[in-house]
Amino acid sequence: MSAKLDLRVLGPILALVALIVVGALLNSNFLSAGNITNVLSRSAFIGIIAVGMTFVITSGGLDLSVGSMAAFIAGLMILVMNGLLPTLGPGVALVLVGMLAALLAGTIAGFVNGFLITTMRIEAFIVTLGTMGIYRSLVTWLADGGTLSLDFGMRTVIRPIYYDGILGISWPIIVFALVATLGEVIMRRAAFGRHAAAVGSNDQVARYSSVNVNRVRMLTYVFLGILVGVATIMYVPRLGSASSSTGVLWELEAIAAVIIGGTMLKGGFGRVWGTVIGVLILSLIDNILNLTDGVSPYLNGAIQGVIIILAVILQRERKADG
């Protein structure tokens, strides 16, 4: 393989390693177990969503609604648990019901996006821009403009989902790793991943090759919706609340992570492991800036922007290969 090809594959990894080196040099606590756990855990929400987003983008789609969707599902999950608290009492059963509600809501939300895009043939950008506004409004309305808070009695029961884990690894990290591994296997080795790439590469070819294009597209949105539900299940236990400011700009962070990871925005090629690296890069930038003095916090966004663009430039050699 040529050096060009290597750079294309290694680009995101190099960027990640560079960030880790910089972080370690700037602050001795950077590599501490505590900090690593913090960064990985907080990456989990965007990360889990970004894995789903990888499939949507690979098949030539886009979903702008995931941030609002997460806020809405979080609100819904809290309302369901608060509402059933008197009947079920604070316990594992109620947590499971909340989880089920989140997964169900995610599935339905993904299905709605997919239906409008495939069956109704409306541009994905427009559909998800619409649902983005709808979910954001709905959560504001549910919260009456304020914040939806999980009943205090419930918080101690649900808290371990974010903060505890096994063998010192917290649950969000474990779930993120599982979702990422599953996503990577599906993308590379399952017919669904192959079909998603074929549809994104050229949907006519896919159609003429007897692939059910609409079904593949629909499934990518449903899969993403379910993963938004999973991310929400991890999110709610952290602060036990949801408001209209929950999940703001998550969609753009997820899309940025996918692209940094080497998936093509116009579809046809996706890699889940790249997305995971993209998510870690984005989280690390924030983390390093917080751990460092001397950079004006006003410039955080600029530094993030530069690193995103650099990471993508690093893998531009794709064109030369064909």
């Binding site: 074929a198 070819v205 159609r207 003429y208 290969d321």
Partner: protein, 494 residues
Amino acid sequence: MKLTLKQVDRSFGAVQVLYGIDIVLAPGEVHALIGENGAGKSTTMKIMSGYLAPTAGQVLLNDRAVTFADSQAAEAAGVVLIHQEFNLAEQLTVEQNIFLGHEMKRGLFLDKRAMRDKASALLKRLDCNVSPTATVRDISNPDKQMVEIAKALSRDARVLIMDEPTAVLTAREAESLFTQVDRLRESGVAILFTSHKLDEVKRISDRMTILRDGWVVGQHPAEDMTEDAMATAMVGRDVSSLYPVRTRAVGHDKVLTVRNLTVPGYADGIDLDLHDGEILGLAGLIGAGRTETMEGLVGLRAATGSVNGKAPFPNPRAALDAGIAYLTEDRKERGLLLSKGMRENLTLQSLSDFTGLLIDETAEDAALTRAIADFDIRAPHRAVTVGNLSGGNQQKLLLAKTMLAQPKIVIIDEPTRGIDIGTKQQIYEFIHALAAEGKSIIVISSEMQEVIGLSDRVLVMREGRIAGELSGDTITEDRIIRLATGLDGRKDAA
């Protein structure tokens, strides 16, 4: 203005497509250029209008040698080509289209009044009633043709080249076009046009040039030529060695019965039978509805009628499950994923055969090895992206991909389009070998020789209907052309 091609050659890479072409387009004369698909008509027209440069020879305007840098330079010199597919911006108005790229201005601003006046005058000159402010999307095909001509005239075209102007027009619409052509002829414009409809050629042209395989094989005044004489002149060469010798017999079992298949807008009441081991040719002019009929049959388009006694397939997957596969004519846009490797492309249509829970990549690799051997696919290395393969090898891969799904019936649309002669021969052998295995094959081809060389039986389509069926000794180019152009069997189309 007089336009002359003098001893023009043209090659694409190693393939020469034009040999020493001499044509004179005189002012006030309508010149017809006729020949089979692939005879070199389009290339000739593109050289005349600056889209292509000749490899050798000269283009002369009023006897002075000229070199057009591009089509704009040709237009500036008064030579305009009107494409077969309209080159109009559908969302803009008629007058906006007429002046697109050549807008009249007063100072910094568009001079709308002057453009409106000139557009009206041009349309009036063409006796065309369409409003200058109508949106092009909303006007009829002949009106669009008129707008194209008005657009050409607005650029002071003195030489007008029309590529199959009547292909999309009905007989009545074509007649009104010819009235305008007569008018232009009287005003001293030199006109060249191509058509497969030989009656039109007879009707409108003053002179004609007949092309075959890139050579001029005849130039005659129109009055000297009958339609039969034209057809005979267009045909006639011996390529029998290109096609394998038939060594097998067609079976007697019907494997496909299609009745009254209708694809709205393209095909009407198609009946068709296919036997095991048979190669059925589907001939006709471009636009006769052959591709659309077959796409309707396999569920790629909405269709009505019956296929083997049932409703047409709802989607290609259902057709494939019933053992019918369609191999597209457009291998780059519909056949292959050009940015992917050979393995992904090969197994795309039959991925479920390679998938339990996960895809068995070892089995895929084995399938690729087999396909490379069976279909003689020549790739620089196994990981090559398919877009980097030659057209011939792409076509072989597409054939391998389709056959991997193990269909009993294969519909192959233009099996050798844009492929060199050596690979053509290989593909013909593959097709024969498949038939010998007992597969049934439908070949759609616009090349007469191919249809004749391959088929046991030929159906000829014209304007969305079956114009006739030929078999055995009756399969001749002459008969096919007559059916395809409507010389014979005209009552079918009426």
